[in-house]
């Protein structure tokens, strides 16, 4: 419930505040969003598996986001930014899918 409330709050704030993201952050924001989504789904899965932990959630959220951004930053420095972005997105997408399927198994017990 808290997660849903937080999501709605964040979206509403984002809509009304209309932030101007700094130019250096622009390549990393989409990656960070996907990483955060992965962390959120991981937390949901761990909730269903009943070993959810708030500290673990916070740390995994932040570390996911920071790691993803750092990877892309590193890729930019090495000149393979777009490829590494794709790689990160693919990995995070796979994780999101596996998390969602785990959650689905918990809901539908199938």
């Amino acid at each position: 419930m808290a997660a849903v409330i937080g999501l709605i709050l964040g979206i509403v704030i984002g809509i009304f505040v209309r932030p101007d993201i700094p130019i250096w952050l622009q390549p990393y924001l989409p990656i960070m969003v996907v990483a955060a989504l992965d962390a959120l789904l991981g937390a949901a899965r761990s909730y269903f598996e009943r070993n959810f932990n708030d500290r673990v959630f916070v740390i995994s959220f932040l570390s996911n986001v920071i790691t993803a951004a750092l990877l892309v930053f590193l890729g930019d420095q090495l000149g393979v930014g777009s490829q590494l972005t794709t790689a990160v997105i693919v990995v995070l997408g796979i994780r999101i899918f596996s998390n969602v399927s785990a959650i689905r198994r918990f809901i539908f017990r199938g």
Partner: protein
């Protein structure tokens, strides 16, 4: 607690439950206990949770699963409200978590004061909720920001894409400029051709005038001379009269009329039995010749000593008078000639 749940996810193995914060739960007989979770996710057992208990818990869990999920169709599941699912999951969890097998004596935990425990639990819950809300807020905020950013046209493009876009734009500009040049040259050529057409028309008009005068189809007037040749006894043959015309032409006569007949490039003078014939017309003495040109030049051409004028006077005793005039009108016209063989070169 020393048990471990295998967790492949980022939420690392941890022994703290989401809904229970009391630190020591080993001996608690009550319903709210944090114990190893039965079922297929259990990986190990503590010293106290031996195999028999493990098996008992597992069988109970399976039973609960069957009770809950066995008889329901997929459609019913889809209709199910997720909230009620969560609630039923909680109930089930509590049921499954119970280690109350009655096999072992359960030692009661040293109970904390109830008020503190409740307050701690509440505090922890609030902190957890706040953290989750914060994280999800960050996520939602980032999502919306990124989405709006993506909607803007060029800001979200990477350097490569921008360079490519710039290249494309430049290429397009080049192409358009090339096209413009082509079109402009076309316009120029069309304008030129219209000008040329007008010039041609002008030239054609001039040519028509000139050739009209030359061909004798146009009446004209201007300064010139009038020559009268009167025979006195001796017949002047056509060759002499033709010489007069030739002399006038050499002197630059632009239009000549011989006794009422317009002289053109194809005019002829022949002797016939009836007299002199010019272009099919019989003419007789005195011959009245009109010529347009420089009056003095024309007059000199006739009057020059030893010229045709003196020859006529001396050899034919003819009376030759040459009058220079400011305005000679030649209104005699030659018939338009139809050419049988000559064709215009295109």
């Amino acid at each position: 607690m020393a048990y471990r749940d295998a967790k492949p996810d980022d939420a690392s193995p941890d022994d703290t439950r989401h809904d229970d914060t009391t630190p020591d739960t080993t001996g608690n007989r009550g319903a709210r206990r944090s114990a190893r979770r039965p079922g297929r996710h259990a990986m190990g057992a503590t010293a106290r949770n031996d195999t028999s208990r493990n098996g008992a818990g597992k069988s109970r869990a399976d039973k609960a699963d069957r009770q809950h999920g066995g008889g329901r169709s997929a459609a019913e599941w889809l209709m199910t409200d997720v909230g009620s699912l969560f609630r039923s999951q909680n109930e089930k969890d509590e049921d499954n978590d119970s280690t109350d097998t009655g096999t072992f004596p359960v030692v009661k935990a040293a109970k904390k004061s109830g008020a503190t425990a409740t307050r701690n639990a509440l505090l922890q819950k609030i902190v957890t909720s706040v953290l989750i809300i914060l994280m999800c807020m960050l996520l939602g905020f980032g999502y919306v920001t990124q989405q709006r950013n993506t909607n803007e046209n060029y800001q979200s493009l990477s350097e490569d894409e921008l360079v490519r876009l710039l290249d494309e734009t430049t290429t397009q500009v080049d192409r358009l400029e090339e096209q413009r040049t082509t079109l402009r040259s076309q316009v120029d050529s069309i304008t030129n051709s219209t000008d040329k057409q007008a010039q041609l028309n002008e030239v054609a008009k001039q040519n028509a005038t000139v050739s009209g005068i030359l061909a004798g189809r146009i009446a004209c007037h201007g300064s010139g001379v009038r020559i009268t040749i009167a025979e006195t006894g001796t017949h002047i043959d056509s060759a002499r009269l033709f010489t007069v015309i030739e002399e006038l032409r050499n002197a630059g006569a632009e239009a000549i009329a011989f006794d009422g007949v317009r002289i053109t490039a194809s005019s002829y003078i022949v002797d016939t039995d009836e007299g002199i014939e010019v272009d099919g017309t019989i003419v007789g003495t005195p011959y009245d010749i009109k010529a347009i040109g420089s009056p003095s030049a024309l007059a000199n051409a006739i009057q020059i000593s030893g010229g045709i004028g003196s020859q006529l006077r001396v050899r034919y005793n003819a009376n030759v008078t040459v009058t220079q005039l400011d305005d000679v009108v030649i209104d005699e016209l030659a018939d338009a000639k139809t050419y049988q063989y000559a064709k215009i070169v295109e």
